[in-house]
């Protein structure tokens, strides 16, 4: 029995949970706290992933510095998105961020000279820490665990401190927060950029783990997956996101017990995610997102 | 046994929205052709009461009888078809449509939906004639094809009320009909309401203008904190010391 729990597959799942936790927790900052429905979050993730990969493979950067630059580029990306989108209301904002995301996907597919298009970027190395490359998955798991813990710590400070309070206040009643002196535009921008940076970090981690990425990392399906994690874990919850990530990564494992042709696996997983997302939003609709006061 | 003179009967009506009790055990009866005024301080639940009668409030309990028929579960459009007409505080006029269209839509509300696809039917011509006639009563017939947004507040109010004549309403819920109306137009609005009274319609008015209430209402219902505090003829209500208390607090 113990052998099962230390088996390679379990470690693989735990790594995925860790990575997606980082991506989802950062999405939680804008979606759950600041009530910004930013559907280009996955594009930040993709920017981080591709930056890290290309720097490591084309320019022989070490993974750790590449991750750092990936994070910075994600921040830059969010500045562009935020500059345009942050002033818009719900429907326009959703459309604008989806459009941004789609544009990133189009660029990833078509700008072949840089991104290699649909061929993707292979051969991404593992990070090297203290002279050792984290080749074994167990080592990598520890690495991801440490990063995730750091992320959680940072977000803890954000959520429970005055910044989080300010975000929650303006998420509920923006004019009320403004009348108390909060610069809501700046706060939202900051949360936007922070979320994007950590999302980019998650993307870089994913790239270095699976060693090969292609434009599908920016796909809409991925965005919906991250959104589902946050909804499962409850938007605005601190630990709930961990539960959500674990639940969503482990859920499709039930298909292991059913034998079926492999071409059904992908769509079936998609279907499961879609149904889970809908059921959650439907059942919890009265409590999930209180309508913001407009007056 | 309920009297057949009752057109609207509100029984044990309570309304609770996200934990706040807005209306608490309201019991009022209205008879055919009556004109009743509803007054009370801001926040006492007057508009909410209208919303409950119109069918726009969730979270209500109790009974509502229109001509002895229970309508508490009916949708707003069903209640309208049964004879409830509503005038809204913020002018329920469709500003992007023409004045004539605002009238036509009231006629069409009573027709089965499928018939509204054919603009060449005879019914439409009849409606147009009737609409112009009604508009004539409020001096708006010559502006029938103008956009409703070009109307002044008073004219909008006139249009709103006369539109209810088109939809054959019997119980008129007027939410502050003279609010936002210039003093000159007020007289016209009042005149129009008077003609409604002459048509034996049941009028329930929310108003702050005490003179208006005095002139027309046979009865006044006073709401405070979601409860009916007084329900009597105007002289008795005016004389009641509780009225002073409600508006100005205990001396």
């Amino acid at each position: 029995m113990l052998a099962f729990f230390t088996s390679d597959y379990v470690i693989h799942l735990l790594i995925l949970i860790g990575i997606y936790f980082i991506v989802a927790q950062s999405f939680n900052l804008s979606f759950g706290f600041a009530r910004i429905f930013n559907l280009s979050h996955i594009a930040s993730y993709a920017v981080g992933a591709y930056t890290t990969s290309l720097l490591a493979t084309e320019l022989n950067f070490g993974i750790l510095p590449a991750l750092g630059i990936g994070v910075l580029l994600s921040a830059l990306f969010s500045l562009i998105v935020g500059g345009i989108a942050v002033r818009l209301e719900a429907e326009y904002f959703a459309m604008g961020t989806i459009a941004f995301s789609a544009m990133v996907t189009a660029l990833l597919i078509n700008w072949k000279s840089i991104t290699r298009g649909v061929l993707g970027v292979p051969g991404i190395p593992r990070p090297v820490i203290f002279e050792t490359a984290l080749e074994s998955n167990t080592q990598f798991l520890i690495f991801v665990g440490v990063v995730a813990a750091l992320v959680q710590l940072i977000f803890g400070v954000l959520y429970y401190g005055s910044f989080g309070r300010s975000l929650r206040a303006q998420g509920e009643y923006e004019n009320g927060a403004k009348s108390l002196g909060h610069d809501t535009g700046a706060a939202r921008m900051v949360s936007f950029i922070l979320a994007s940076m950590v999302g980019g970090l998650g993307g870089g981690l994913y790239a270095t783990y699976v060693s090969y990425i292609d434009p599908s990392v920016s796909s809409f399906a991925e965005m919906v997956f991250v959104l589902t994690i946050v909804i499962v874990g409850r938007p605005g919850s601190y630990w709930g996101i961990l539960v959500g990530s674990a639940a969503m990564i482990l859920l499709p494992e039930i298909f292991r017990f059913v034998t079926m042709p492999s071409e059904y696996l992908g769509p079936l997983r998609q279907l499961l995610y879609g149904i889970v997302l809908f059921l959650l939003v439907y059942v919890r609709r009265a409590n999930l997102f209180p309508v913001e006061r407009k007056l | 046994m309920t009297s057949t003179l009752n057109v609207l009967k509100i029984e044990n009506l309570s309304c609770n929205v996200s934990g706040t009790q807005i209306l608490n055990d309201i019991n009022v009866t209205f008879e055919v052709g009556e004109t009743v005024g509803i007054i009370g301080p801001n926040g006492s639940g007057k508009t909410t009461l209208f919303n409950c009668i119109s069918g726009f409030m969730p979270g209500i309990s109790g009974h509502l009888y229109l001509k002895d028929k229970e309508i508490i579960k009916a949708s707003p459009s069903t209640r309208a078809r049964l004879g409830i007409g509503r005038v809204f505080q913020n002018f329920g006029i469709f500003r992007d449509m023409s004045i004539l269209e605002n009238m036509l839509i009231a006629f069409e509300g009573k027709r089965p939906i499928l018939t509204t696809f054919f603009p060449w039917a005879k019914m439409n011509r009849v409606h147009k004639e009737q609409a112009l006639e009604l508009l004539g009563r409020v001096n708006l017939a010559h502006r029938a094809s103008e956009k409703a947004s070009s109307l002044s507040g008073g004219q909008m109010r006139l249009l709103e009320i006369v539109r209810l004549l088109a939809s054959n309403a019997e119980v008129f819920l007027l939410d502050e009909p003279t609010a936002g109306v210039s003093p000159k137009m007020k007289d016209e609005v009042v005149g129009l309401i008077q003609s409604l009274i002459e048509l034996n319609k049941t009028i329930i008015v929310i108003e702050h203008d005490i003179n208006f209430i005095q002139r027309f209402c046979e009865r006044i219902v006073v709401l405070d904190g979601g409860k009916v505090v007084l329900d009597d003829v105007p002289e008795k209500v005016r004389a009641d010391p509780r009225l002073q208390e409600i508006y100005f607090g205990k001396a």
Partner: protein, 297 residues
Amino acid sequence: MSILPQLLLNALITGGIYALVTSGLSLTFALTRVLNLAHGHLMMAGAYSFYYAYVQRGWGLFPATLFCMGSSVVLGLVTLKTFVAPFARYSVVLALVSTLAFATIIESTVSLIFDVNVKSLMVGAYPESFEWCGVFITSLQLLIIGLAIVILGILAFIVHGTGFGRFIRAFSESSVTTESLGISKSKVMGIVFIVSAMLSSLAGVLVGFETSLQPTMGNAYTLKCCAIIILGGLGNLWGTLVGAFLLGLMENLLVGLEFGSFSIPTGYKDAVAFVLILFVLLVRPEGLFRKRGRAAC
């Protein structure tokens, strides 16, 4: 420059299809203030239902069309009753998420029933193209343009010239006032959602004949519809029509023409819509045609 007329014709064809599919979204948005992010998927699903009847089962054009319209009725009602209406009282974000889930469900279900490979509705040979006023056009393309003009014309007439159209316009201004006049919200919404699904299915079928179908095509079309609606102004039907043809024009011109030695790679054709959305949102969020959009209470 001699390819310009051909490009213009292609723009007309693409624009026609876009107009057909977007008009449905424009109507449902005007009515509910919810942007149905699964709209493109409804187009795809309708087209696949036609594929099932026409290609897989070999039924004739007419029975296949009936089947497709029948599925559209079901799809339209399901969209309204299950994925949009339950969230009417709550934050619009919930409805958006719900439609996202719906899109995922539709896409995966279609992928499961039919596989993910590209499919075409054209069973026989492609129709011959004939020359007409210097451009090449096929009978199918002529049909597309013709259908688009006729159907959209009828739609515009209904919305602006009939009582039912008045109901739609009234609901988009204030649903509370409209209901208080006795007009049944559920009936009007039901009809509009059904018609919207039918229009999308028709557009999908035309695309299936003219090019091809794939379960993943839904998203791109949803985005293009959004681009068109933003261009034309949310809730404005005429603006939608003009926007659709404008988008078709821009897509075909920007990608087809050569600017000196530089021309935009065709892979970026879809991206035109995305850039357009961002540009308009940046510069003029109310759209090119200003129309006062009032939230339906």
